[in-house]
Each structure stands twice: as structure tokens, then as C-alpha cells.
Amino acid sequence: MNRPIYLDYAATTPVDPRVVGKMMPWLFDNFGNPASRSHAYGWAAEEAVELAREQVAALVGADPRSIVWTSGATESNNLAIKGAMQFHAGRGKHVVTVKTEHKSVLDTVRELERAGCDVTVLDVQENGLLDLDVFRAALRPDTVIASVMFVNNETGVIQDIAALGAICREKGVLFHVDGAQATGKVPFSLDELPVDMMSLSAHKTYGPKGIGALYVSRKPRVRIDAIIHGGGHERGMRSGTLATHQIIGMGEAYWLARDSMGSENERIRSLRDRLMNGLMTLDQVFVNGDLEQRVPHNLNLSFNFVEGESLLMGMKDVAVSSGSACTSASLEPSYVLRAMGRSDELAHSSIRFSIGRFTTQQEVDTVIEKVSAAVNKLRELSPLWDMHNEGIDLASVQWASH
């Protein structure tokens, strides 16, 4: 079977075959529990887990002892925000975040709000970037934590983490960063960044699903309550038997990313430019999000007057995501694009292309061909396209909304 061309690396990545190779021995041959202190099975597993901890720490420039294993970035986001709010309940009950965050942050702060916390969710600018002054103004004396994602999953826009963190330090507010989409794409060092906690994920960086980590700074020392209780693993911050093979996979994946990030980013940037230039030859195509402050892996485009889901149908041999409401259960178009001030129409018409390690130039060329054909076909079908060509301003039309 001919599989669709995969341009959805921001959703997940294939596990690098080298990573798979490293994981395999830890399923049957070396199956020990890293917490078993009384025999060689446990010792071997523990040693491997600690090596992986060093590998993960190396990519993000952190002390290995600041890495706490979790089941993924969703859990890390929950642990960081809920854990900080609980531990520091005496200090205040205000939490600040941004409208374009991942649902695992937004839904977490909504849950805290139900539990009595004060929540401020900030707007972004049209380019998707947070205004530093708006951020500064939102921090109050009773603000415990601010959470801002490093790289946006829908648009690839990179927030100014150094500047935001500096503001937090100045105001004595904990700073949490969701770094799930940043690892292996943006070079950074947590030893230098003023970040207190960072959520990490393996499967966005060619590692396995079901494993992630939370960086919890030791200098300055950041304290949080656990949200999962049990055997006191991970210095009490996250109980549960460590998933040895998954952890080893994450370690190897991060190690490979550290090695290849520079050359890989260059190659991906040239593919992204090729894709963008190819598709922008179509009329009425818009890039969503800042093009400079952005990882090259992401190209989010709106094809005006074409609805996203029908466009996906027209490019069946290409695996991508759409911000169209029709592709989600909610019937609302992308909240990220809406927060950037994009109209509902353009949000409905958006497609996220995300490029990765295994994307080839030939695949990009095929995608340009298929997408262009589908867009042209659907515009032939689109009454809005006709109206646009007749010079009618769609905003001036009285639509019967339903």
C-alpha cells in the first residue's frame, strides 16, 4: 500500500530506527525495575535510566538531577502548574498563561479556576508573539506562576523565553515553559535561560510516545507538590515505576537530536522554503504566524475561499492537519489562529504542514502539486471565490449565520 506523504511532524514523529534499536533490549533481556536495589536486574536498569537522564539533560543544557520523568508533556504541564499552585498556595492564587497555549495548559488552568484560583489568559499579537509589556502588566504580587510555551504547536512561532523569564525573575514569579515543540528545533540551554520548569516530550523529537519529562530547576531551587502519589520515585515529585525502555528511547532520541540539530534545521528550512514558494504562487494564500520568529519545521497557511476539511479530502495522499472546525469535534475553528486575530474564514481555511527528519525534496514537490490541484478544484466550486473575483467584499455581505 502506498502510504500518504507525512507532513504532520508537529503531531508526532516516527521513532528513529536508531532509537528503536536502543530500546529493544530493555523489554525482554533487561527487564529489571530501576527501583530494585537488591539485584543486578535493577542495577542495570537504573544505570541505563541515569544515562538517559544525562542525555536528555544534555540537549536542554540542564543538570541531570533536575530532570523528572513523566508520561509526556501533558502530564508535565499538569505537574508543573498544579504542583506549583498547590505548594505555593500560601503565596497567592493567581496564574498567568496565554490563549495560544496547548490544551493541556489551558484546561489545567481552567481546572484550577474551578478550584478557586485566579486565572489570566493573555492575548497574543497578530504574528502570534506575546507582547512583553502586556505580559509584565499581567503579573501581580499574588501571581505564583506564569506558563508560556516555547514553540507553538500550530504555527511554530517561538516566544521570547529569555525576556519573559527575566520579567518573571524580576517580579518573583515562577516561570514554566512548555517545550514540547522546541526540543531538537531550537538550540537553548536551561543553565542560561531564566526558566524554572520546562515540559519535555519524547515523541515530538523522534522518540517513543508515552514518555516525557519535567525540568525542575535546582538553582534557584523550585519546589512543587506531587500530583501523582505512590512509591516516592523521582524524588517524590512523580511516583510510578519508571518505564525503562521508554526512558532509554527518549534519552537516545534527545542525544541524536543534539547531534543533528544544526544540519537538520538547515535542510528542513530549505524544504520549508521550497514548499512555501511553491504554494504561494497560488493567489490568496496567507502565512499564519510570524515567519522569522518561527521554527522552520512549521508552515501554517490559509488558502482563502477554500474550506480546510474539503482541502484535506482533496489531498488524500498527504497527511497534514487543518485548523478547520470540521476536522475537530468542537465545531470551532482553530482557537490559536482566532487568538491571533485571524478571521473565522481564514482559520477554517488553514492547513498546517510540518516537516521533519525523513521528509524528502521529492515529497515536497509532490505535495505542492497535489495541494495546488486541490485548491484550484475547490475554488472552481467555491461561490466565495467567484464573489472575490467579481470584486465583492465578503465582509460587506449580510450572511445568514447558522
Partner: protein, 135 residues
């Protein structure tokens, strides 16, 4: 989401795509939906002197199910009287295309498009008759 074969067929080979001039007296135009909601259907019916719908054309901005619903409706209204066309129910459209629950609104929109096109035609006729009587 898996699409039914019929939706895919209408998407791949949409029937009766196009339009007539809005000025034609024997044409009724229905435009329903809104870009902000993700679907806009334009249905046009051409009505013969005998009151039978001779032809129908559509253009649709929307998801595959919306395109399929409007394409199907152009086939169904042909050869029907205006009242017979008005009797087409969204549930029949949804059933024919095996639309999942989240796509029922596409069939409702198609039913609305028929109603709007018929209403437009009737308004035009009334205006024309009034003009004739006045003359």
C-alpha cells in the same frame, strides 16, 4: 473521519457545478450559510413555463459533506415542481449520503438552500406579474 462512498463520489465528481445569471427571470437563487461558519451554499434552479425545475446548478464553499449535500440536491430537484422540491427533507439527504451526526448541519443547509432558491424564484415571478399587470 471516514467518508461514505457516496460523499466521496460527489466530492470527486460533483454534479451540476456552475451558475446562471441572477438576472434571468426563470432562475431562482438561494445562498445560505456564512463563511465564518465554514460553509456557504449557492443553489440555483431554472424553472420552466410549466412550473417544473428544468435544471439546477450549485457552488459550495465547505467541507466534503456540504459539497456532497448540495451536489445531491441539484440532482434531486431536477424534474420536480417547486412544491415537490420544497418537500425534500434534510433527513433524506443525510440518509442518502450516510452523514455522521456532526455533519447533519450540512444536510440542513442543503434543505435551506432549496427553500431559499424557491422563495427567490417566487419573489421574482410575483414582481414580474405585478409589473405586467401594472403595464
Amino acid at each position: 473521519m471516514a467518508y461514505s462512498d457516496k460523499v466521496l463520489d460527489h466530492y470527486d465528481n460533483p454534479r451540476n457545478v456552475g451558475g446562471y445569471s441572477n438576472q434571468d427571470e426563470d432562475v431562482g437563487t438561494g445562498m445560505v450559510g456564512a463563511p465564518a461558519c465554514g460553509d456557504v451554499m449557492k443553489l440555483q434552479i431554472k424553472v420552466g413555463a410549466d412550473g417544473i425545475i428544468e435544471d439546477a446548478k450549485f457552488k459550495t464553499y465547505g467541507c466534503g459533506s456540504a459539497i456532497a449535500s448540495s451536489s445531491l440536491v441539484t440532482e434531486w430537484v431536477k424534474g420536480k415542481t417547486l412544491d415537490e422540491a420544497l418537500a425534500i427533507k434534510n433527513t433524506e439527504i443525510a440518509e442518502e449520503l450516510a452523514l455522521p451526526p456532526v455533519k447533519i448541519h450540512c444536510s440542513i443547509l442543503a434543505e435551506d438552500a432549496i427553500k431559499a432558491a424557491v422563495a427567490d424564484y417566487r419573489t421574482k415571478q410575483t414582481a414580474a406579474n405585478t409589473a405586467v399587470e401594472a403595464a
